[in-house]
Amino acid sequence: MGTFSDRRYLQRQIDQISGGFTQDFAVVETLLRDRQQFFAQIRETVDVPVKIRAMLVSSVAFLAVYGAVLGSTHSLLQALSSAVKLPLLFLTTMIICIPTLYVFSVLFGSNQRLHQSLALVLSAITVMAVLMLSFASITLFFMLTTSGYQFFKLLNVFFFIVAGIISMVFLTQGMRAVSTADGEQGRIGRRLVLFFWVLLYGFVGSQMAWTLRPFVGYPDAEFELIRQLGGNFYADIFHSIGELLGFFIVT
C-alpha cells in the first residue's frame, strides 16, 4: 500500500509539473497567435510575473533543445554543455543589458516598470527560441545527411540571423504597443533608444558567446567546457583590421 500511495503522490507531482509546463506553453501560444492581446496585457500589467515565468521556462527549454542539437555533432558531453550554454547566453545577456534599456526608456518619457521591460525583452527572446526550435528538425536533418563542419556552422549562423531579425521586429512591435500609453514627447527618442539597445545587446551577446564557446565543437578537438584561450571578440577583430590596413600594430 505504501508504494502505491507513494506512486500516486509521485504521479500527482508529475501531473502538477507537466500541468505547469502546459500552462507555460499556453502563455507562449498566446504570445505567438495573439500578440496584440499579449502586449495589451503587459501594458495593463495583467499577470506579468506569471508571463515572465512562463516565457523563462519555455525559452530555456527550447534553447536547450536546440543547444543539444548543436552540440550533438561533436559528442554527448558537448550536447549537454551546449544545452546549458545556449539558454545561458541569451538570458545572461538580457540581465546584463536590461538596466540600460530601462533607464534610457524612462529618460525618454516611458512609463514602463522594470518588469514590463523585462517581459517585453523576454517575449522577443521566446519568439527567437521558438523559431530556433522550429529550425531544429532541419538542423538535425543536415546533421544526419552531411558531415561538413564549416557548412553546419554557416547554416546555424544563418538560422540565428533569421530568428534574431524576426525577434527584433517583434520587440519593436511590442515596445510600440506597450508604449502607446506614454506621452507623444520623446517617441522618436524611445525608438532610437531601442535601436541602440538592440545593438548593445548584440555587442554584449557576441562577447558572451565568445566567452562561452564552443557551441558546436570542432570535430577533431577534444571536448572542452569552455575554450581556454581568452581574449576579446572585438579586440581580436580590431587587431586584425588594424594589422590588415597596416595603420598600427596593437601589442
Binding site: I95, T100, V103, V106, Q207, M208, G231, N232, Y234, F238
Partner: protein, 229 residues
C-alpha cells in the same frame, strides 16, 4: 530616490518646481548624494581592472571630478547670474546638479555591461578604455540635453523681455563650455581612473602637464610644425 525618479520620469514637473523655487536645498542635497553614490559605484568598476587600491581611489575620484569642477566654476556662474536680471544661484546649481545626476544614473545603468567586459575580457586595456569613453559620451550628451530641456522650462523666453532671458541662456551655455573645459583639465590632473595594467598603483599620476597643450603638442608634432621637447 523618489526625487531622482521624478527627475527621470517627469522632468517637466521637476523643472517646474525648480522654477517656483520649491524645496531647492532639499533637491540639491538629494541629487548631490545620489550622484555621488552612483559615480562612486561606477568608479569602483573603472578601477577594478587594475587593483583594489585603484578601485578605491577611482571611487573617490570620479564623484570628485564632477563635483569639484562644479565648485570651481560656481563663482563664475554666480557672477554671470548677477549680470542677468533676478536669477538665483541655487536655481543654476540645481540645474547643473540635475544634469550631473542624469549622467550618473545613466552611467550606472551601463555598469552591468562594464562589469561583464571586466570579467570576460580582462586583458584588453585599450578596448576597455574605448567603451568607457563611449559610455561617458552617451551619458554626458544625455545629461546636457536634459539641462537644455530644464533651461527652457526654468528660464523661458518671454515675449516682452526676450532680450534678458536669451542672454541668460547664452551666459549659461558659455558657462557650460567653461565647465567642460575645466572638467577635462580636472580629469587630466586626477587621472588615472582605469590604470594602465603594467604600472603600479598611483593615486595621482606624477607628471603634470595639461590636456590641451598635450593635444596641441601631439597635433603639432604630427603635422610637423613644431617639435615639442
Amino acid at each position: 530616490m523618489t526625487l531622482i525618479d521624478t527627475l527621470l520620469r517627469n522632468r517637466p514637473q521637476f523643472f517646474d518646481e525648480v522654477r517656483q523655487n520649491s524645496e531647492l536645498p532639499e533637491k540639491m542635497r538629494t541629487m548631490l548624494a545620489a550622484s555621488f553614490v552612483a559615480l562612486a559605484l561606477y568608479g569602483v568598476l573603472l578601477g577594478a581592472t587594475h587593483s583594489l587600491w585603484q578601485s578605491v581611489s577611482s571611487a573617490l575620484k570620479l564623484p570628485l571630478l564632477f563635483l569639484a569642477t562644479l565648485l570651481i566654476c560656481a563663482p563664475v556662474l554666480y557672477v554671470l547670474n548677477s549680470l542677468g536680471t533676478n536669477q538665483r544661484l541655487s536655481q543654476s546649481i540645481v540645474l547643473v546638479l540635475s544634469s550631473i545626476s542624469v549622467t550618473a544614473v545613466l552611467l550606472l545603468s551601463f555598469a552591468p555591461v562594464t562589469l561583464f567586459f571586466i570579467l570576460t575580457a580582462p586583458d584588453s586595456y585599450q578596448f576597455f578604455k574605448l567603451i568607457n569613453v563611449f559610455f561617458f559620451t552617451i551619458s554626458g550628451v544625455m545629461g546636457a540635453s536634459c539641462l537644455h530641456q530644464g533651461l527652457k522650462i526654468v528660464w523661458p523666453g518671454q515675449p516682452n523681455a526676450a532680450g534678458a532671458t536669451r542672454s541668460q541662456r547664452l551666459m549659461f551655455w558659455l558657462w557650460l563650455m567653461l565647465y567642460g573645459f575645466v572638467g577635462s583639465q580636472v580629469a587630466w590632473t586626477i587621472r588615472p581612473f582605469v590604470g594602465y595594467p603594467g604600472v603600479p598603483f598611483e593615486p595621482v599620476r606624477q607628471f603634470g602637464g595639461n590636456v590641451y597643450t598635450n593635444i596641441l603638442a601631439s597635433l603639432g608634432e604630427i603635422l610637423g610644425f613644431i617639435i615639442v621637447k
